[in-house]
């Protein structure tokens, strides 16, 4: 394993940032700075071409947060406005003062600044920044060519990308730094018969390097069979069914159905129905759900969040009872609840919100074969396409690409695609009747808040059997 190293840019900027904080400290009740230097690589193998670029997550910049008489303002910049620290501090102070003059600003309780000094360095096996681009492109090209047969699968593309995250948080009493790398890779295929096209994919992800591609390379035969099956897929007959959700679908159910609704900035805005259910039953005894950047290692893991709060592992639902939300600093202060280290930004230039990290159901005691055998008439659902939350009214939407029919405990061979899964969150969680002992996390996607503010997260857990409306 190779240890990552901190960004030389951040290490070089630190003395000036410390100076700026010292200059600004007397003028505000709270002051902090977050500096980011996230670099990355993207490799694409497409039909007839290959390309190298960088992921959307690449960023470098600074955000300063100030509080005075409870009011909070932030100024973010790609370049510190001048040197030395006194000159930069004067400019930053002027920008923050202008923002704090807004008469509509809410007054929050004092932001704490508890002493802490800490650092974290991640580890990987194969460093993508040291690898030969030609070798990576050749591996990706081989993947897509293996999947494309020209008869059923008319096109395929593959992609690998990684981000080397480096974050430095400074306040008068805190000095935190972390650096780690995550990667994700995809193989997409399109099957076509006449004008009917069907698409499916395999993703892999983790706080890993190029070693991730080995997992993707084993998935080609199964994906080819699935694409062939999808060409014979029929529309779903609308109705309520028993469903077995694969770990990715189950994790997204946890994420969308309950995760967004327990982000405590939603509580503060009075947008979350969950707040009325604190300490009350929201699911069956089999439902235990966690969120946390600590406790598991996936793309949502880190040492401290973008507000300088250490990560934790939050038990959101314990055997069916709603126990705790996940918080950013401002909503936690306003609601007088613990800070859980879930204050995250898309980039230095974006606001911090209460966001999920790694969200999952805890494993149960059933196995998948038993679960399939128990289904009278239902569907095993996999290959998530998207999900959406409705924290106020507790609707749930999941769209997946593959449904396989189960009748009297056996697969019938019938395939449906696509499938819109919907329901009322407490009904879906209360109907959970079996949970497998498996545990898989996937972090190849990104989570938005509304339609923007993307954050890297993972979700998953075991196979889960419940009931949902399918259409």
């Amino acid at each position: 394993m190779q240890k990552r190293s901190h960004s030389p840019f951040l290490l070089a900027a630190k003395p000036q940032l410390v100076g700026i904080i010292e200059e600004l400290r007397p003028h505000f009740d709270y002051i902090s700075a977050l500096a980011t230097d996230d670099r990355g690589l993207s490799y694409f193998a497409l039909p007839g071409e290959t390309r190298t670029s960088e992921p959307m997550w690449v960023q470098r910049g600074f955000v300063f947060r100030a509080q005075r008489r409870g009011k909070v303002a932030e100024y973010a910049c790609a370049v510190l406005p001048g040197a030395p620290a006194t000159k930069a501090a004067a400019e930053i102070r002027a920008r923050l003062e202008a923002l704090l003059a807004d008469p509509t600003l809410i007054a929050f309780p004092q932001i704490p600044d508890e002493p802490a000094v800490s650092e974290y360095l991640g580890e990987i096996e194969e460093d993508p920044f040291r690898a030969d681009p030609e070798a990576i492109l050749a591996r990706l090209t081989a993947l897509r060519e293996k999947l494309t047969d020209g008869k059923v699968v008319v096109m395929a593309q593959s992609r690998y990308e990684c981000v080397d995250v480096s974050r430095l948080f400074l306040s008068p009493k805190r000095s935190l730094i972390q650096s780690f790398l995550w990667s994700q890779a995809y193989l997409f295929g399109v099957a076509r018969r006449g004008q009917v096209s069907k698409m499916s994919y395999r993703p892999v992800s983790g706080r890993k390097g190029l070693e991730l591609l080995r997992t993707l390379e084993t998935s080609v035969p199964e994906l080819a069979r699935e694409l062939s099956d999808l060409l014979g897929a029929q529309p779903m007959e609308p109705g309520e069914y028993e469903v077995i959700l694969d770990p990715d679908m189950a994790g997204t159910l946890a994420h969308e159905a309950f995760g967004h609704g327990v982000e405590t900035d939603m509580f503060f805005k009075k947008r979350a129905r969950a707040v009325e259910y604190l300490g009350k039953r929201v699911g069956s005894d089999l439902v235990t759900m966690y969120d946390g950047a600590a406790g598991v290692d996936q793309t949502g893991s880190y040492l401290f969040d973008d507000e300088g709060v250490f990560s934790s592992k939050t038990c959101v639902i314990d055997r069916g009872i709603f126990k705790s939300g996940i918080s950013d600093t401002l909503s936690a202060l306003a609601l007088n609840i613990p800070r859980t280290g879930n204050g995250r930004r898309e980039a230095y230039s974006h606001k911090a919100y209460a966001r999920m990290t790694n969200t999952y159901f805890a494993p149960g005691t059933s196995n998948l074969d038993e679960m399939i055998a128990s289904v009278k008439h239902g569907w095993k659902l996999s290959q998530l396409n998207s999900g959406m939350e409705d924290p106020r009214n507790w609707g749930i939407q999941l769209i997946c690409m593959v449904g396989r029919e189960i009748q009297d405990g056996k697969f019938t061979g019938r395939v449906a695609s696509p499938i819109v899964c919907s329901g009322y969150v407490p009904d879906v969680l209360s109907a959970v009747s079996m949970v497998s002992g498996d545990f898989e996390l996937g972090g190849s996607g990104a989570c938005g808040k509304g339609h923007k503010e993307y954050a890297k997260v993972s979700s998953g857990g075991p196979y889960v059997k419940t009931k949902m409306r399918l259409g």
Partner: protein, 444 residues
């Protein structure tokens, strides 16, 4: 910074064994005002100054007398030293030298064919830019006298200075004003508050458009408070409105792109009728789609594309037949079709059916989904209903829950468009389409 990058490129070409055959550089400098309102108070105020430089280098190779071109794109941060710049560009050159794609040439300098209008935001101070938009939203909400209200509203006003230059002498600049707001509106029902969520992009302080957008949602959230569970129903026509109608039209537009056709992700073929899957089908209403560089009020308007190719209004689909491919110049060259450029915007001809006529017979008209998804490759679509209007032939009933699904691969030929058009997010297009045969999943 641009001079530093130019000097690094010149030095690499002078001293290194692998030369940069061509390059393209995009500079973006943004100033952003942000407000995050909860009810009528701001949670926090933010200001952002961003800058980025995206450099693409192209490296040519000759293999067996055939010329190939590789490329790599890197981000050069404004805090990079000259040495950092040179090192990063060298990495890109090395990566580009490992790609061997068919050769294509970068656009050469040419007069722009379209001018961007100057935004009304340019004449306002930063504080006034925020205030004029905030007032438009909150004044509209005040009309509802508490029966529906704003729960939360996020507001962004962005001024972007963009410059695109390349090694062939292209040097285009633009000032882009991009306003964006996400808002949540709510109303009280017997079971507690209900909400609707929406967003809008704008490039002008067009207070009437902003007020109308939030006003429509405020009226609808009052209806959601009265909504019943969506009933099970036989296949009746579905009327898709606004952004969802635009998403359906964008499927036709996006599948006409050179990159989609070159990669075989699109099943469209030039000269074919793309409104039907087979010759046996009859098309209810022939479709015309135009690519557009500029639509007033839309921040994605641009006079040149990401390759630096000047854009000019072009017909794409005429009476249902794909006549012109739009998209990146490289894929146009590889397909052997004329270069037209990659347009972000499009327009769609009005249909022959009025909204009134669409509403004359039983229908289900969703006006808010959880998240309407339409797969750009397969044409499969679906979403959960947050609010829809169901007309049973006698009365209009607001309903919620359940879902719709279907596929344009089979439903496109029967699609009808409204006579009325409006500006949406990436287009000017009919405000509604009527689809026959979508699957509706009710909940009782």
């Amino acid at each position: 910074m641009i001079d530093t990058i130019r000097e690094a490129i010149a030095s690499i070409n002078e001293h290194d064994s692998v030369k940069i055959s061509d390059w393209r550089l995009v500079e973006r400098r943004l100033q952003r005002q942000e407000r995050y309102y909860i009810a009528a108070q701001a949670e926090q105020a933010r200001a952002v100054d961003e800058a980025s430089y995206s450099l693409t280098v192209y490296v040519d190779t000759v293999i067996n007398d055939k010329r190939f071109r590789g490329e790599a794109t890197v981000t050069l941060q404004p805090t990079f030293s000259p040495e950092d710049c040179a090192a990063k560009i060298r990495q890109a050159v090395f990566a580009a030298s490992k790609s061997h794609n068919p050769w294509f040439g970068l656009p050469a300098p040419s007069d722009l064919k379209t001018a961007l209008p100057v935004s009304g935001f340019a004449a306002l101070s930063p504080a006034d830019q925020v205030d004029v938009v905030r007032r438009a939203f909150y004044s509209a909400a005040a009309q509802f006298k508490g029966s529906a209200r704003i729960n939360a509203l996020e507001l962004f006003i962005i001024e972007e200075q963009k410059r695109l230059i390349n090694s062939r002498g292209v040097d285009y600049s633009a000032t882009i004003w991009r306003g964006y707001s996400e808002f949540v509106v709510e109303a009280d029902s017997r079971d507690g508050p209900v909400e609707l969520f929406d967003d809008i992009e704008f490039s002008e302080p067009d207070t009437a458009r902003l007020a109308e957008t939030i006003g429509d949602r405020l009226a609808q959230v009052r209806d959601r408070a009265l909504a019943r569970p969506t009933p099970q129903m036989e296949r009746i026509p579905v009327i898709l409105r606004g952004k969802e109608a635009e998403t359906v039209f964008s499927w036709f537009f996006d599948n006409s792109r050179t990159e989609m056709i070159y990669s075989k992700a699109s099943a469209f073929e030039p000269g074919e009728n793309v409104q039907k899957a087979s010759d046996r089908e009859d098309v209810a209403e022939p479709l015309d789609v135009w690519s557009e560089p500029v639509i007033s009020g839309l921040p994605s308007s641009t006079a040149f594309d990401t390759d630096g190719f000047p854009l000019e209004r072009t017909p794409v689909i005429e009476k249902g037949v794909l006549t012109t491919l739009i998209g990146s110049v490289r894929h146009a060259d590889w397909l052997g079709v004329p270069r037209k450029g990659a347009f972000p915007l499009f327009s769609v001809s009005p249909g022959s059916m009025s909204l009134e006529a669409m509403h004359a017979a039983p229908y289900l008209e969703p006006v808010m989904f959880s998240d309407f998804q339409l797969d750009p490759v397969t044409g499969d679509f679906g979403a959960e209903l947050r609010l829809a209007y169901y007309f049973d032939g006698k009365k209009v009933i607001p309903v919620s829950g359940g879902s719709i699904s279907g596929s344009l691969s089979t439903l496109r030929s029967s699609m009808r468009r409204s006579r009325e058009t409006a500006v949406a997010t990436l287009s000017r297009c009919p405000v509604a389409i009527l689809l026959q045969g979508a699957t509706i999943t009710g909940i009782r």
